[in-house]
């Protein structure tokens, strides 16, 4: 911000804006760790790590509340306009997205303890962890794009969410196959499917964060509607499993 625009005459205003942006980065860092640990705990069947993710979500929730309070204070006391207003608005919206990603990570981690009692589905935990790792990297890049006002990087993140949706489609089909092969796989596969859906939703929230980076840099939300790659809810060929038997 300071390299493209001069500082405010009221320097305390600059400090307030920098503070809320530092907070959102800190919150983003915690959420990145939550995504990583949730997926890792599943793969390594590490219940202790899963509990850590569940407990850590409280901190993320508190940070969202704090950020909303601070942002409201900046609006009330400073009356921000133009880019300053976009900083405050985007921070509030991103805090909501990050909080949701935190929740999804928690939900995923909660299933780890159930999963450790159930039969393993070959390769699924590793595939889920890869998908989660992609989302984690996307989140890191979205936050970098936000801080550096890097429109191109933000668009790149939005583009990469297609891959995440594709991975979800693939997993969805795999789980169907396992369930058709042996009904004893159904419980495991249902849990794994919920987790895959959790990660797919995280990708959508990361996309929303990247959109805020674009909004901050340009003053406008990205225009073209993204093609939704998760087609399992609309494509009967994908969900009936008719061609999989």
């Amino acid at each position: 911000m300071t390299d493209e625009l001069k500082k405010h005459i009221a320097s305390a205003f600059d400090r307030d804006l920098e503070a809320i942006q530092a907070q959102i980065l800190k919150m983003g860092g915690l959420v990145e760790v939550a995504i990583r640990d949730a997926a890792l705990s599943l793969e390594t069947r590490d219940e202790e790590l899963a509990e850590k993710v569940v407990a850590g979500d409280k901190v993320i929730d508190e940070m969202e509340e704090l950020l909303n309070d601070e942002a409201a204070k900046v609006i009330a006391l400073r009356g921000p306009t133009a880019r300053d207003l976009r900083v405050v608005l985007s921070v509030m919206r991103m805090a909501a997205n990050l909080e949701r990603i935190g929740d999804l990570s928690k939900n995923m981690a909660k299933r780890t303890s159930v999963m450790s009692q159930l039969a393993q589905i070959e390769g699924s935990a590793t595939a889920l962890r890869r998908m989660a790792r992609d989302v984690e990297h996307m989140l890191k890049d979205a936050l970098d794009a936000y801080i550096q006002r890097d429109e191109a990087l933000a668009y790149d993140v939005i583009e990469r969410d297609r891959d995440v949706d594709q991975m979800y489609n693939t997993l969805f089909r795999e789980f169907l196959t396992f369930m058709l092969e042996d009904p004893r796989n159904i419980t495991s596969c249902m849990h794994l499917h919920f987790m895959a859906k959790n990660v797919e939703r995280m990708g959508d929230h990361v996309t929303a964060i990247a959109e805020q980076a674009i909004f901050l840099a340009t003053g406008e939300m990205p225009k073209e509607d993204r093609v939704k790659e998760d087609r399992t809810s609309s494509d009967p060929a994908l969900s009936s499993g008719a061609d999989l038997g």
Binding site: L5, K6, K7, H8, I9, A10, F13, G79, P80, T81, A82, R83, D84, L85, R86, G219, E220, M221
Partner: protein, 265 residues
């Protein structure tokens, strides 16, 4: 996304009321206004903002030839009101000012009764044939000035005895009494408290139905609150002119952004 569903902020018309082309203003050797081109719309509140000395008040005063009285002041370019050049030799500045009213920074009622303050303009312009008509004009103007209910029982009391906010609304009533088409306001609220300011702002919003209003203000929040169009002046240049919501959310020129966000311009 700029059209707020909460409040109608867009302009009602795109009809131009005042058109300024390549306007230059000089005070002696000082070039105070440089190449200003702007269309002031009818039935719209237009705000002029900018740092002190940027030329916004000077430009406002050219719109009803208030600068005529300053010997060293020279205006070049074309300013048209409804397509007529207001600097044409045949134009009588007194008639022009009946059409283009003005309200100043400090309330300046005449040291006369409330009634006479408002009746003065219509009298000298011969707008009333008799006392009954004049009474009617005065009441209508005071109602438009949103002060009728407060003064109707003491129209003979001196205008100077009113509170600051009431005095300013009396001056607005006085300005609208001659049925102007344009109302120029030079910092109309800078001497008023927040309540009186709100009353005057509410009044400005109502006046928009009948007049083209141009307001010079140092309060950017006020410009954002009352206007549909905003013009940002800097060092005698008109830097940016556009919808108020666009100027305050996503200005095009970095100088505009620096100014409205409180950075050194």
């Amino acid at each position: 996304m700029y059209d707020s569903p909460l409040r109608k902020t867009e302009v009602d018309t795109n009809e131009s009321k005042i058109s300024a082309r390549d306007v230059q203003v000089y005070y002696g050797d000082t070039h105070a206004i440089k190449d200003v081109n702007v269309e002031i719309l009818d039935k719209t509140v237009t705000a002029f903002i900018g740092p002190s000395g940027c030329g916004k008040s000077t430009f406002l005063r050219t719109l009803n030839r208030m600068n005529d009285t300053i010997d060293i002041c020279r205006v070049e370019g074309l300013i048209e009101l409804d397509g007529e050049d207001i600097y044409d030799k045949r134009v009588d500045p007194v008639q022009l000012r009946a059409k283009v009213g003005m309200v100043f920074q400090k309330p300046n009622p005449f040291p006369k009764s409330i009634y006479d303050n408002v009746a003065y303009g219509p009298k000298i312009h011969g707008l009333a044939k008799n006392k009954a008509e004049l009474d009617e004009i005065v009441e209508k103007a005071l109602r438009r000035g949103a002060i009728w209910d407060e003064v109707k029982d003491r129209l003979d009391a001196p205008g100077t005895g009113l509170s600051g906010g009431q005095q300013q609304r009396l001056c607005i009533a006085r300005a609208v009494a001659t049925e102007p088409e344009v109302l120029l306001m030079d910092e109309p609220c800078s001497a008023l408290d927040p309540i009186a300011t709100s009353q005057v702002e509410e009044l400005i919003d109502e006046l928009r139905a009948n007049y083209s209003v141009v307001i010079v203000t140092h309060s950017m929040q006020q410009a954002a609150r009352v206007s549909q169009k905003t013009a940002f002046f800097h060092l005698g240049n008109l830097v940016e002119y556009g919808d108020t919501s666009q100027i305050f959310t996503n200005p095009v020129d970095p100088r505009t952004e620096s100014y409205i966000t409180g950075r050194i311009g």
